[in-house]
Subunit: 318 residues, 2 copies
């Protein structure tokens, strides 16, 4: 049976997903790995994959595509840029995969872009020709799809919507060195900071937050009627709505998808986000669909599998 | 000889351009017309075109495509929206063109989108797969090209970059009903207003401006050392650079083209615009090319001809 692999490359482990060429999800397996820079580490990866394949009566020759999603920049030509958060030798890993699965097209995809492609292949954006997936996590990333194709950008900055300026009066500096970026307010880090700041401003004791990105505690406080939590989430919605209104003036997508860790509470903040978007957007596009991403943390695995499959089709001139 | 027509539909006249299928410009003719809503008016158009064709030994049967660019919204499916500034019955005109040129594919294109396609076909953006043409005229419009394709948007708002919010503190209302849109500062109307306001603020007498969009007088004043004119043009550059920085965070184009009436003075303000863009943009994309559009007021004529040709190719499955 022909099969497609989607491999989510993380800092201390990889997740391998097995798919049919039609996008049916067959199995997922987590493989703890050392730094992916040595033949021994590559062997751990291919051994783990071998077990997944064996469980589905698939031979190595039947793997026709293998996508790898990574937390870093991938240029239009597939070249992998600097990866600050993981140890990975892209060329070494590709060589090992080529040797193990000689018929597989191999593609690297940036994780936010992969998540968008996943939603396009098998998620809520299936057959939607233009949409933006905004991932609210430690930072704010996005995958932009226009005319059915990913927009990675001439300099790899396509989908950097976390750095749209939403507050020209901000004095605090963003990680990018600029001021007032969406990421400063709508990331998990931003939401927790806005909450703690509001508590300080009002002189009230905040609920205990576990760490700098613990939005779960903020949303729990909101559910318990915490006014400071409400203020923080309202601000998050306000800035996110403002950024989305700008995006719509450029590409006017048919749909927005909200993903990432913060989207676990999407149902809680969606009405506020939609209301504020309607207030900020051009009237022609104010009724755009705003939905939760549907594939959760499997989205990128789906998406990189899809991209490898597309690459195979392009190569074979299908 | 096979030929392609690009027809620029205006309020009181149309301009007909004749092109080879390869994009060579052969001739342009201006035809004064009454409102394009009657068989007599359509006849004036086809008679005018007949003269252009005769001068180039082209028979009506050899016209393989005919594009019409119009100052208003055209949806992805080619449907023409409300046209506030011209009198035109789209279906009547298409019927007349179909009858006169039975082998021609006919397409309507919004004028800003058409200008972008013109630059893609035969202008400075030839073979550039992603770029944004920003037209600074009475208002601010744009044509967005990504992955070699026009982005018209799910609700027809693709390229509405004139309504990117660049000043959240603005109290004056934009034509769209919102506040602080780029168009309020970087349109010809905006530049003239900024100039007159600055003169009033400083208590100096402005140079004579002929009308509300007479930026030529403002640029002439700038050349003569007028400090208020310098302030107005600097503000225009500042807001335009801010909007472009937002656009780059979404689609990260390889090139910006500045067109429209104000672009006649591009050489004067380009250094300031580039400097301010570098200050506002994400560092990865700060060196994007910012150039003047190259086809002037013929761009839309080129572009609608190109779109009709593309439509023919799609229909014929080439």
């Amino acid at each position: 049976m022909e099969a497609v692999l989607g491999i989510d490359v993380g800092g201390t482990s990889i997740k391998v997903g097995l798919f049919s060429p039609e996008g049916d999800f067959l199995e997922e397996r987590k493989i703890p790995t050392p730094a992916l820079v040595s033949p021994e580490a590559y062997q751990v990866v291919t051994d783990g994959i071998a077990k997944v394949l064996a469980a589905h009566d698939t031979t190595p020759d039947e793997v026709i595509a293998c996508g790898l999603d990574i937390p870093g920049p991938v240029a239009d030509d597939g070249h992998v840029g600097f990866l600050p958060n993981i140890q990975l030798d892209p060329e070494g890993l590709v060589s090992a995969i080529n040797a193990a699965y000689p018929n597989a097209a191999v593609a690297f995809v940036n994780d936010c872009n992969a998540a968008a492609l996943g939603e396009l292949w098998a998620g809520v954006a299936h057959d939607v020709s233009s949409f933006v997936l905004i991932a609210l996590g430690t930072g704010v990333g996005a995958g932009v799809v226009v005319n059915g194709q990913l927009v990675s950008g001439a300099f790899g900055a396509g989908g950097e919507v976390g750095h749209i300026t939403v507050n020209y009066n901000e004095t605090r500096t963003c990680g990018c060195g600029r001021h007032g970026c969406l990421e400063q307010y709508a990331s998990a880090t931003g939401v927790v900071r806005l909450y703690l700041e509001e508590c300080e401003r009002r002189g009230v004791t905040p609920v205990h937050v576990e760490h700098a990105t613990d939005t779960l505690s903020v949303f729990r406080a909101l559910a318990n009627g915490d006014e400071c939590a409400k203020n923080a989430i309202d601000q998050m919605c306000e800035y996110l709505a403002m950024a989305m209104a700008q995006i719509s003036c450029v590409i006017d997508p048919a749909m927005y998808l909200i993903g990432g860790g913060v989207a676990g509470s999407f149902a809680v903040f969606a009405p506020e986000l939609r209301r504020r978007f309607q207030a900020h957007a051009l009237s022609t596009c104010k009724d755009v669909a705003i939905e939760a991403a549907s594939l959760g943390n499997q989205a990128a695995m789906y998406g990189c599998a899809y991209e490898a499959l597309q690459m195979r089709k392009r190569t074979m001139g299908e």
